[in-house]
Symmetry: C2
Subunit: 183 residues, 2 copies
């Protein structure tokens, strides 16, 4: 398989990616020194040609005023059939596939670099040995409860630290390669 | 109160400070590039004149072959009465005190800088607004389960990032000041 799989995600210092109800106020309310600073997001997303997410993340993103992924191809992994409105049908497909099967399908279709999003989905890819890269941005706040960054990791997973950088507003971003990745 | 309170602790990338049974194999088994590298521990401990820990951490440290704190004064916070052997009685006192009361007592006794150790104890200090500094070293491994670094944080706690550094073996250390600290 030639598909590279990456996660690019922000988490509170105590390891949550959202509050229990999905709220991101603790993240969006953070001070930003430079209004043009995007913490490497646009240079990351420019290298990605497909986005894989779970149903919860899809429904959260759908609740935003605008669909933020423009023409990027999106695969929603779900055993259910969440609604895809007409204007998104060109780019969004819903599939009931395992991480292994979606990696195979996207590889076969010629995709090169998948952005894996959402806590449950990223943990499924980690457990399956199918995540290559983890870019995590730690926000300097403890929120106590919420949706965990890592969920049901079922064995030790060793990572290789590649680089870290900190931003003026206190965000600390680290990039890791995952040793066990079979992708 | 003039006592400064600091935490210096290692955690897995998924936020555990030990396995469920207290084991640190995931930490002690990490490769170390330089055998003399101590990740800033000795320069930190040199600034400390008292160590505050809970009973669980005390009993874990007691299980080691040697008592690692030499002549450093240690306060064990406990509602029970864990055994203190004769050779440690000079340095170790067991007290049933709240974070606020132990900070007051140590300030009154002239201590300057307390090292707060153990997940439950550090979270109690955080919740009481009595922690000034958090130095956390992230180990590049996911262990899935264990004793959490942060436990029952009961409100948002904002931190100020002061500096981060990474080591050749992939440990990433960040130092934060806590905004709400009343200490």
């Amino acid at each position: 398989m030639t598909l590279k799989t990456s996660v690019f995600i922000a988490a509170s210092l105590d390891g949550f990616i959202a509050r229990e109800n999905g709220d991101l106020d603790w993240l969006t309310g953070q001070p930003s020194g430079d209004p043009d600073e995007d913490y490497g997001y646009s240079s990351f997303i420019d290298t990605v040609d497909v986005l894989v997410m779970g149903r919860h993340t899809y429904e959260k993103v759908r609740s935003f005023d605008i669909w933020p992924y423009q023409d990027l191809h999106v695969v929603v992994l779900s055993t259910q059939k969440p609604e895809v409105p007409d204007e998104l049908k060109k780019n969004v497909e819903v599939r009931n596939l395992s991480p292994r099967d979606v990696v195979k399908k996207l590889s076969d279709e010629g995709f090169q670099h998948a952005y894996i999003d959402g806590g449950r989905t990223l943990s499924q890819f980690l457990n399956a040995g199918l995540l290559d890269e983890l870019i995590i941005t730690r926000i300097p706040v403890l929120i106590g409860n919420g949706i965990p960054l890592f969920e049901k990791i079922d064995q030790d997973i060793h990572l290789v630290h590649e680089e870290s950088a900190s931003f003026d507003n206190g965000f600390v971003q680290s990039r890791y390669r995952i040793k066990s990745a079979a992708g």
